[in-house]
Amino acid sequence: MVGVLVGIVLIVALFSFYRVKEGENAIILTFGEVTDTKVTAGLYWHLPIIQTVKVQSTTEIYTFEYGYRTTQTGTTTSAAQYNDVDEEAIMLTGDSNIVRVEAIYQVMVNDVEKFFYEVDDPFGTLRYAFETVMRRNIQNKTLDVALLKKQSIELEVYPDFKSLIEDVYNIGIDIKEVKIQNIVVPPEVSAAYEDVNNAKNEQTRKLDEGERYGNEVVPSSEAKAYKMIQDAEAYKAETIANANGEVAVFNAVYEKYVLSPEITRKRLFIETIEDIMANADQKYIVSSGSDVLEFLPLETQDTTTIRGGDTGE
């Protein structure tokens, strides 16, 4: 009987050993009051019934999602699935526009006693505090800034959130990171935003077209101008060459002329008349008197005699 009692005591004592793992802290409550804290890993013993032990990891990172929830985590064969949480995601901007914000924040427990006993629901407090800070830092931005300066907003949210949780609430939670996943316009207006992108593309295209037009017109004019100048040069060369040629002929003739001016003059004249006559179809010699002399028809067959004043036979 005594043995049974001793055995019971031994078993109870044996089950009163507990382990604190690496990265965990334990608080020991004696009659509900925190009387000890274990911060190093090891095997410890506590008084059964009178003492209770609460163990909490201080190295585990808790990740909270804002504006969406992962409904199914991704695996090697399937993509992760998300649900939007509209009432969280939809936010006002400073210029009274609407954006959707999705973010995560990561925290760690750094003071186990405060974490357990400062507030009734530390993670709930965390959620409300994050929403407060996140919204305030979007609400003091314009839409354009909110859409484009994701990173700088992150850098504002993080210290605000950290100081609210660590200094004001002091609930034993350490804010490790705030990461804004996405700031986008709501789907209701995204078509209009896409149209602006289209318009930007069209603008660029117009610019290209303008450039192309210039690339087409200017070289063509340059070619025209080049041709004009070449033509002019050709004309110049031609004119000068003509002049030189004519002058050369003249000079040659003149050389002869100087030798016997009278004869040459006559010869030139007759030669010219000869050329003319050879070329003329019909030739008439008109007497200034009453009669018209008939000239021998040398080439033409129908020779007409014309008498002054008298037509016909």
């Binding site: 009692l5 409550l29 009659f31 509900g32 009051e33 925190v34 009387t35 009432e87 006002l92 357990f116 006993y117 507030v119 009734d120 407090t125 505090a129 929403e131 305030r136 004001v168 209701e188 207006v189 149209d195 289209n198 318009a199 069209e202 603008q203 117009k206 610019l207 077209e209 037009y213 210039g214 200017v218 063509s220 340059e222 025209k224 080049y226 004009m228 100048i229 002019a232 110049k236 004119t239 000068i240 002058v247 003249f250 000079n251 003739v253 003149y254 002329y257 030139l268 004249f269 010219t272 008349i273 050329d275 003319i276 070329n279 179809d281 030739k283 010699i285 008109v286 007497s287 008197g289």
Partner: protein
């Protein structure tokens, strides 16, 4: 044989008797232990880390056990013993009634409510507050339970917040962190002055969600769409303008190039003409009389093309000479 049997029997009986004795004493020990345990639990109670305690005797509050860090019952009660601490405490069994209250912060969350800013803009806000029982005596007397207290706060916090927001302009309320914080702190102070009577203390209040009423949301989307449409139109018009500018600039450049070429080519031609003239003048100037004769012949030859009709006067020198030879003396 029988003697031996007897001896054995006697020893067995004696053993049985001994066992019976030890059994009895163990039972007694157990009974004593149970009695002690009952007595212990009847005369003691524990105050957990997140608790504070009110002990009443025949309905009268006799003693409170508080956490000095959060206790806010400034003026100590005359007939109440105030004890600081946690853990194991004693009480008079059956007479002392022990009531536990939480000492940690509760989170109060409001419903979404409509507020007006000073410039008549409307928003739906949701807010949360962190509060705790700072004086368990007053709390017990005034509210009794946290459910009742929550209700009480709901009716108190909202009007105070709304009143403070009413005084802010929309821009200050939405965008100015400090203005809103000041408004919240002032609301918190005024609420605290009221709730202190009930042993409650508000530690922090925040508006965590501000959103437009549904109707305004729609019109906001429309405005955003219109705004983007305007921007798209501006970009397109700008693109067209740039295009026209580039085209006319290119046209101008082209015409300038051509005009310059016309000028240059005329100059070149002129230079050619001038040089030709100089050549002519140099050569023909030697004998201008002969030149005009020679040039006249050329002109004559040039003007009579093949197929022309030629009419000559008989008195033309050409005939005159010829006829002179044919009929030397008339």
């Amino acid at each position: 044989m029988s003697n031996q049997d007897n001896t054995i029997n006697v020893t067995a009986r004696m053993k049985e008797q001994q066992v019976g004795k030890t059994n009895k004493s163990i039972i007694i020990i157990i009974i004593v232990l149970i009695v002690l345990l009952i007595a212990f639990s009847a005369t003691t109670f524990t105050v957990n880390e997140h608790q504070q305690t009110v002990i009443t005797r025949f309905g009268e509050i006799k003693k409170i056990i508080i956490d000095p860090d959060i206790y806010n019952g400034q003026n100590a009660y005359d007939n109440i013993t105030v004890v600081e601490g946690k853990g194991l405490f004693f009480r008079v069994p059956f007479i002392d009634k022990v009531e536990q209250f939480d000492s940690w912060l509760y989170t109060y969350v409001s419903d979404s409510e409509l507020v007006n800013t000073s410039d008549k803009k409307q928003y739906y806000i949701t807010m949360f507050a962190q509060w705790r029982i700072a004086d368990p005596v007053k709390f017990k007397v005034t509210h009794g339970t946290t459910v009742k207290a929550s209700n009480y706060l709901d009716n108190l916090i909202f009007p105070a917040i709304i009143q403070n927001i009413n005084e802010l302009g929309a821009v200050d309320f939405i965008s100015d962190k400090t203005m809103l914080n000041e408004a919240l702190i002032s609301a918190q102070n005024s609420i605290n002055a009221t709730v202190r009577v009930g042993g409650i203390e508000i530690r922090d209040m925040q508006v965590h969600r501000t959103i437009l009423p549904t109707g305004n949301l729609e019109s906001t989307y429309e405005r955003m769409i219109a705004n983007r449409a305007k921007e798209a139109q501006r970009l397109r018009a700008d693109g067209d303008k740039t295009y026209q500018q580039m085209v006319s600039a290119a046209d101008r450049e082209a015409r300038e190039i051509e005009a310059a070429a016309v000028e240059e080519s005329q100059q070149i031609k002129g230079a050619g003409d001038a040089e030709a003239l100089a050549t002519y003048a140099e050569s023909y100037g030697v004998d201008s009389d002969f030149y005009s004769f020679w040039r006249s012949l050329e002109a004559l030859q040039y003007s009579f093309k093949e197929g022309s009709t030629l009419v000559l006067d008989e008195n033309h020198p050409l005939w005159r000479d010829l006829l002179g030879w044919i009929t030397p003396e008339e």
